[in-house]
Amino acid sequence: MALEYTRPEVVCSTLLAAGGLSLTLATNMFTGPPKPPSAAIPRNCVFIFGIQSFQPRPYLGVGTDYRQFRTSLYVRRHADQFETGQTLAREIWRTLQRANVSAHTGFFGALMEEADPQYYGMDDEDNHRWSMTCRLLYKG
């Protein structure tokens, strides 16, 4: 049985790129853990990466499993742009909550784990930070 290669962070980034939030993959939205600002990574950006998920539940016989992926979304914004950053974080939440993920093989549901993005204060470089978790339902 060949396991399908699943990439929940790509599901999220695809939804956000199409969500009218001015987020573009590899420009101001990245898949992977947060990295400090650099020539290639702006201060104002979003990181999407998988975090600890749940035990898969196999279906009998058919060779498929039910899996719940947990994907963390980390929003970083310049110190003087708190309101803009908070608005973006909430728009990301709204875009992903109950999103239609059927275009991605095997995925059938998206639910956020928090009612609102969580604000984490400022990092060492005076950037505001928000975080939220998207739970993606998958069978395959």
Binding site: R57, P58, Y59, L60, G61, V62, T64, Y66, G109, L111, L137, K139
Partner: protein
Amino acid sequence: MALAAHPSVLDVSLDDITYGEIDGINDYTFGLSRDVLETTDFMDTSGAHTRILGLQDIPVSISGDAEFSDTNGQNVLRAAFVSGATVYFRVRPDGTNGYKAQFKVSTFEINAGVADKVEFSCELVSTSAVTVV
């Protein structure tokens, strides 16, 4: 050697020839039982019961995630509940060896929590003796 459960194959048929594997199942019980009839009488002196075996009964329950696109599996059971049609149900715990018999679908229950999946459970009552496959 113990058996892992996940290779178990559960399938259903309307003609006992062509079987369709049921998708979405993650729990099942296939109960094999027989009535036991007491035949001890007052003339018996052995000091023990005597018994004979009576009719077989094979209650089956399965449950898992609802799959409305599972044409040859769950949908056969769902339609059989509505129509009262007889189905043939087969279970093979190791994927090859097991049992089959003829059944009626006595319950087909769907339940869902708003933040979770749609799940279903189904019970079958036997209308034939069991066959080892």
